[in-house]
């Protein structure tokens, strides 16, 4: 039953749609592996460059709107070490059908200040920055889950 369901679904998609999903997956992989957590753990100051002034970042229930507030929060969080154990992504319909926004959900373990260990769950939406055409974070929402 389950395999039938899968075959049907794959067949129902056009090549174009499959390409978009693959493209989204590649971008998500780069973001998760090479950018966000890498910068967060090794070069925190660079992280803020992934945000725009309209961006919103929610850290365990605390809201940070815009570059200045996000920068301030980032500076308050002690040195970290993230280990992403699981991530997933989905295309989110945008104005440009060729380039959907990207929903990314990650989870794993994080250690702050070497000794304080937690599990985390993190949701992002990546959108295309209209001026630079690069991807940037529209919003992200982090929760420590242990």
């Amino acid at each position: 039953m389950f395999s039938n369901l899968n075959t049907n679904s794959t067949n129902a998609l056009t090549e174009q749609q499959k390409k978009i999903i693959q493209n989204t997956t590649d971008k998500a992989e780069t973001f998760v592996k090479d950018y966000y957590y890498h910068l967060y753990d090794t070069n925190r100051k660079e992280v803020v460059k992934l945000y725009k002034d309209i961006s919103i970042s929610i850290w365990n229930g605390t809201e940070c709107k815009g570059i200045t507030n996000i920068e301030k929060l980032l500076s308050e969080i002690p040195t970290s070490n993230h280990s992403v154990e699981c991530y997933d992504c989905q295309p989110v319909t945008s104005d440009d059908p060729e380039n959907p926004n990207i929903l990314i959900v990650t989870s794993g373990k994080v250690t702050y200040n070497v000794q304080s260990s937690h599990s985390f769950h993190h949701t992002f939406l990546l959108i295309k920055d209209p001026t630079t055409q690069n991807l940037c974070i529209s919003y992200d929402c982090l929760r420590l889950t242990s």
Binding site: M1, F2, L5, N6, T7, N8, S9, T10, A12, L13, K18, I21, Q22, T25, A28, E29, I54, S55, I56, I58, W59, N60, G61, T62, E63, L73, E76, I77, P78, V84, E85, C86, Y87, D88, C89, Q90, P91, V92, T93, L103, V105, S107, Y112, N113, Q115, S116, H118, S119, H121, T123, L125, S138, Y139, C141, R143, L144, T145, S146
Partner: protein
């Protein structure tokens, strides 16, 4: 207490307490005699009739007493699954779990699991080829066990009768000092505690506080199984004046809902890190040993405070809460109806992770098969097929999803509008109960919603929003960390507005056929948690406690 144990035997033999003990002893001794005489005959019987008459007996070892045997058994049933396999009996003794199955093929399937890993254990599974003691003896053994169980139950039942006149409405139940005067009731034994939980579940459906004080308890292991007895209403536990000496014993309580704990008079309470260890393990615990858990019970944290439910606007939080309420009630009780909350463009995917050593019950495979963890699978086709498109596909997927029961009131919900758009983001962190095995799972569920277009299928079916994207992350149950309230302290949108209440009352009344005023009362008694109210209703119903006048 070793005194107690000898008293237990001699007391029984003398039969001073009640007459029941005498037959036990007689049966036992008769049995020994006849056993000797019959042994050769039995052996012949066994050989000639062979496996046809005897069940297949299998020995699993090592099984330390800390292992949840029900879970292990379920694991084996799942791993060695065969249609109509009949597990006749299980027995636990000396770190060995003996199971009996009816058919030789089922036994083969289980023996094939020899050397399989279960949590940290490597299990040896072998056939028990010893000549078993025969029929009469076995029956006597069963009878003996039944009599012991009956005697233990009677102690508890008599106690409830004497102390509470069997009043089913009592909210606090005291089982302290039972072991001292009734040595047969050993609170460290699984069997005793299971009988006790059954009785609490049946006779104390309203109990919030239960005391097990002064019962020579050394281990909390048997209390782990409380979850299986639908005792979620019990939130305050008194274990004072027992003999719990190891802080790791606390881990056995980790699946329970807790508000208050008392361990005064136990060796653990004297350990210097005691309060901190308890506070860390049970983030939802409010009071320990009659003293509220406070900031001093936590080590200083290097990170900013973790805050409760976030929302960028109060009305959006109300909207989100109302949506989730409708969605999760439908998901739990009438899952096919959620199809209308999705559109042909909706996208859904799910991920699943298990912690090492966590339980591997039957549903794990369902989650694993559909887990789209991009870190693990690089198979492009699989990743494409596990991103479900459109209401039909998503709804088909949920048909395979286990039956669940969500508790929205204990969830953490972040709600906000996506910058520069009209889509509403809701991220829920909570847990649900799998109804089949009473397994708790934690989940993190992200929704991207759009307002339902007037006249759309969604709107016609009462959905104010449709789901554009949804990601469901499932993991082993873990308590959520302790949260501080939002600084501007808007009350958490946990009590629905009047309009929502009205809708819930109608829904509840339709489902239960209760008159609206009683439906309202039942809901409000259960903090407007629909599922909880329904469970309570079912419980009262099975006890025959609802007069006809309360029905429509």
């Amino acid at each position: 207490m070793s005194n107690n144990r000898t008293i237990k035997i001699s007391g029984k033999k003398k039969g001073g307490a009640n007459n029941k003990s005498r037959p036990i002893r007689q049966i036992h001794s008769n049995n020994n005699n006849s056993n000797n005489n019959n042994r050769s005959i039995s052996r012949h019987k066994n050989k000639s009739i062979g496996s046809r008459a005897e069940y297949q007996k299998l020995i699993i070892s090592p099984v330390p007493s800390s292992v949840d045997r029900n879970d292990l058994l379920n694991y084996i049933k799942q791993k060695a699954y065969r249609p109509n396999a009949n597990f006749v009996k299980t027995e636990y003794k000396d770190q060995r779990l003996t199971i009996q199955v009816e058919k030789a093929d089922d036994a083969n399937a289980i023996v094939n699991l020899n050397n399989t890993r279960y949590r940290e254990l490597q299990l040896s599974i072998i056939r028990d080829i010893r000549v078993t003691t025969q029929g009469g003896n076995k029956k006597e053994q069963i009878l003996k066990e039944r009599l012991t169980a009956a005697a233990i139950s009677k102690v508890f039942e008599d106690h409830l009768k004497a102390s509470y006149h069997n009043n089913p409405m009592k909210d606090a139940v005291d089982f302290s000092f039972i072991n001292g005067s009734n040595p047969i009731v050993d609170f460290n034994s699984d069997k005793t505690d299971k009988l006790l939980f059954q009785i609490i579940s049946k006779q104390c459906p309203k109990a919030v506080t239960v005391s097990f004080a002064s019962n020579s308890i050394t281990t909390l292991a048997p209390f782990k199984s409380m979850l299986r007895y639908s005792l979620d209403h019990v939130m305050n536990f008194n274990f004072s004046n027992n003999r719990i000496s190891d802080l790791s014993e606390l881990d056995y309580l980790s699946d329970l809902t807790l508000r208050e704990l008392v361990f005064i008079g136990n060796p653990i309470a004297l350990q210097p890190t005691y309060r901190m260890e308890v506070a860390r393990r049970f983030p939802d615990l409010q009071i320990l040993d009659s003293k509220p858990i406070g900031p001093e019970d936590f080590p200083p944290s290097p990170i900013p405070p973790l805050r409760a439910n976030y929302c960028d606007a109060q009305e959006r939080q109300q909207f989100a809460y109302k949506f989730l309420q409708k969605y999760l009630v439908a998901f739990d009780s009438e899952r096919s109806s959620i199809i209308n909350a999705y559109t042909p463009e909706s996208r859904f995917s799910t991920t699943f992770v298990t912690d090492k050593g966590s339980n591997t019950r039957g549903t794990t495979k369902t989650y694993q098969r559909s887990s789209r963890n991009l870190k693990k699978t690089k198979n492009v086709q699989k990743n494409i097929s596990l991103l479900f498109h459109g209401a039909d596909q998503i709804s088909n997927y949920f048909k395979l999803f286990p039956a669940t029961s969500h508790h929205l009131t204990s969830s953490t919900i972040d709600t906000f509008l996506a910058p520069g758009s009209n889509s509403l983001i809701i991220i829920v962190h909570g847990h649900y109960l799998e109804k089949l095995f009473n397994t708790k799972r934690s989940y993190d569920r992200t929704f991207i919603l759009a307002a339902a277009a007037p006249g759309s299928e969604a709107a016609k079916n009462g959905w104010e929003a449709t789901i554009l994207n949804e990601q469901l992350h499932i993991r082993s149950y873990l308590r959520f960390p302790r949260l501080e309230p939002q600084p501007n302290a808007t009350p958490v949108a946990q009590a629905p507005t009047d309009i929502n209440q009205e809708a819930l009352v109608n829904q509840f009344s339709a489902a239960t056929k209760l008159k609206p005023e009683f439906a309202r009362e039942c809901l409000s008694n259960n903090a407007w948690d629909y599922n909880q109210a329904y469970e309570v209703f079912q419980k009262v119903l099975t006890q025959g406690g609802i007069p006809a006048t309360m029905y429509i």
